[in-house]
Symmetry: C2
């Protein structure tokens, strides 16, 4: 019994120290929380929840509550808030901590002074080592064709999404270009399309409902964020241009079936290797003029992309390609971990009548040879029965998720990150079956 | 004579290898060049000139001309194109090459996985080490007050400029907010304000000519880009909000007189320490709500800022603060180099009647104790006499500069970077006095 208590305390202290991602807060007034929540509704989602947590933390501190760690140790696990709202890929830290110097980057102070990387490239701020690493990895994995195409690097794939909108929207069109995506769609798309009230493009909502005889851009996210399904374009109009967001088209999340060959394909290290803090994404672009315009957007927006991060991403992608030969490669490790987590969350959900999860047909991955159904980076959880606000319901059980309305869906659904650190994931799978309606 | 030829060849080969910044091109047809130039007039300026050079390079290669290096070696220095269009701060490489491990950054692959840096900070993606380094350096130099203010980090100060516009423009205003700056103004301001045809803000041109009874944002760049003068706001209306771009308010460019205490102040490592390729800028912001909105812009735009670059910038800024005690500090070195370059360019310009440069009154720098006039990062050169297109005139002598019209001024002026590598700068000061009308 003492041992169990000791372990419990150690776990709690470790959780509390966990880079600010888990917060112990005492929710004196659930109503107050809900009302604060709605005030912030129009803010961007990340800021929104962080601010909320921060305000609660400040309120708690001002009430002279015990500090996070000792408070947690006293009160136990049930009052720990689990924040799985955002897809912060901290799950991957475990793999990279095993790696040694072959993935360490050393940068001297005289390096990366110039704005320029390769003046002959359409994307003049793209480091040649990153091009090599990207094309090699796509070849090794077999998830995208890069031959004869242009790579454009971005400060994460968010910037590349905006660059693609800029490149595809005519500068002198009769009105802003319609931008659509099939619901449920990634919650940031509407925000990124409309936050500047651009005259070039505007969010036109769910692609299934789009029936205007006007030009449009359709975002196809496959596997989809939030629900993990493989997707095709749905409007099928003759005035459409497609952007394929393939952030999750990697073998830890989905069976790789064919190398993708779309006109504009977006990828990011955040979801492939987990290095979200580096802010490196890339687009594989067929048309040179589109690649040039995307480059122009990034020039005006941020005059290029961090060379420090490009060099580091190159080393890491290179290591992923190379360690395919090793006993446990990056994709072996992450596939096994995702499969294990999906087994555990399905087990947890099956213990209760309250929730359900999507099912995926099994297919054989051309890369790993494994046969499996999707193992999405997010669980698209449905509250069954009479619960209409699943986000609010889970919040009362101190699980922070992102509700369906942000994805153009109903509030019976929430998106839950599957990419957290192990201890947070364990808290989730312990808590879900313990919830009573 | 043989020695001279040998040295000349070595110099030319080294120039040709110079990271693509100097290009040897044979300009068979000056007319063709001019017409290509105007076709590209609406593209962003960096892309514009790079594309131009690239097209010429391709044209040259397709004519089976000799390769750049051997071609240059054959033809001599007078045909080498000197590209001083952009303010690429390669001048600083020399200083940083002397530095050893104390400024080298080592990053393991498990670091910087998470999106988050400090969830309690208004700017949640700002690395705490960077905050310390920034506030310390401002204290050491005495160029800005940071106490009681918020730091927001950006992917260069360009992103922060856009973040400030977003934060200062009312989301539901009756029309887009007017954005002005006194001519000559930084050529990227109009582009960054208008490239997305935002409904939030629009470029309203020269602040001296702004006379609407409407709200406005005035950009005050001091010392100014392109001309180097110290500036104050000029509209002085009661509906104005100011953004101070203080990228050049460092003691190598201008005597520091007082710590700046404006509401929104923008800085960047590109121009302070020269690390343009890292894309790190910061804003010092008085109002918490403005800092939050700027943070929201960066969240939506790029979901934060490279942690790799933030960590590196922190180490470099820290080293600059610390090495103030050493025999030759960073600011000693760079002040001496700028003073020397300005002496040389004035000497070169004084040898001819064709050009003139601005004069600056001497003042005493509170940081260094030196008394000197501005030593701007750009020379704002005027073509005297009958030359009305100074950019075109210099281009015919294979000196690429940025013409006055891009800065809201007349084409008798050009902006020339003073921050190039030494060999490029020497070519410039050798060539200018040799030009015959």
């Amino acid at each position: 019994m003492t041992n169990v208590l000791f372990l419990k305390n150690v776990l709690v202290v470790s959780l509390a120290m966990n880079m600010g991602l888990i917060w112990k807060i005492s929710l004196d007034d659930e109503q107050a929380l809900t009302s604060k929540w709605s005030i912030h509704q129009n803010l961007h989602f990340y800021a929104h929840k962080n601010n909320l947590i921060q305000q609660e933390e400040e309120a708690r501190v001002s009430k002279r509550a015990p500090t996070t760690s000792s408070g947690a140790a006293t009160d136990g696990l049930e009052s720990v808030v689990i924040n799985l709202d955002h897809g912060d890929p901290t799950m991957y830290e475990g793999f990279w901590k095993q790696k040694g110097e072959e993935t360490t980057v050393v940068t001297s102070s005289w390096q990366h002074i110039s704005y320029f990387s390769d003046i002959k490239n359409v994307c003049w701020f793209l480091e040649p080592v990153l091009v090599s690493a990207i094309t090699r990895l796509h070849k090794v994995v077999g998830n995208a064709v890069t031959e004869g195409r242009h790579i454009v690097v971005g400060t994460g794939s968010s910037q590349l999404y905006q660059a693609a909108l800029y490149a595809l929207s005519p500068p002198n069109g009769s009105g802003p270009m319609n931008v659509v995506s099939a619901a449920p769609f990634y919650s940031s798309y509407p925000l990124m399309t409309d936050y500047l009230k651009s005259g070039l493009h505007k969010w036109a909502g769910d692609a299934y409902k789009f029936n205007k005889e006007q030009p449009y851009i359709e975002l196809v996210t496959s596997p989809n964020n939030p629900d993990g399904f493989t997707r095709q374009d749905v409007v099928k109009g003759d005035k459409g241009i497609l952007i394929h967001d393939l952030a999750y088209y990697w073998p830890q999340y989905t069976p790789i079936l064919l190398p993708a060959v779309y006109d504009i394909m977006l990828f990011t290290v955040s979801k492939s290797t987990g290095h979200a803090g580096s802010r490196i994404g890339w687009a594989v672009v067929k048309d040179r003029e589109i690649a040039k315009k995307m480059t122009t957007f990034i020039e005006i927006n941020t005059i290029g992309v961090s060379k420090d991060s490009q060099t580091r991403a190159a080393k890491i992608l290179q290591a992923v390609s190379e360690n395919q030969k090793e006993a446990e490669s990056f994709f072996d490790y992450s596939y096994k971990l995702m499969a294990e987590r999906w087994r555990k969350i399905r087990e947890a959900v099956n213990k209760t009548e309250l929730f359900s999860l999507p099912s995926f047909p099994a297919e054989t991955c051309s890369f790993s040879g494994q046969t499996f159904g999707q193992l999405p980076a997010f669980a698209w959880l449905k509250c069954e029965g009479e619960v209409d606000d699943c986000e609010g319901f889970l919040r009362r059980h101190k699980i922070l998720t992102r509700g369906g309305k942000h994805f153009g869906a109903c509030m019976k659904y929430v998106r839950i990150s599957m990419l957290s650190r192990e201890n947070e994931f364990k808290l989730l799978t312990d808590r879900l079956p313990a919830i009573i309606s």
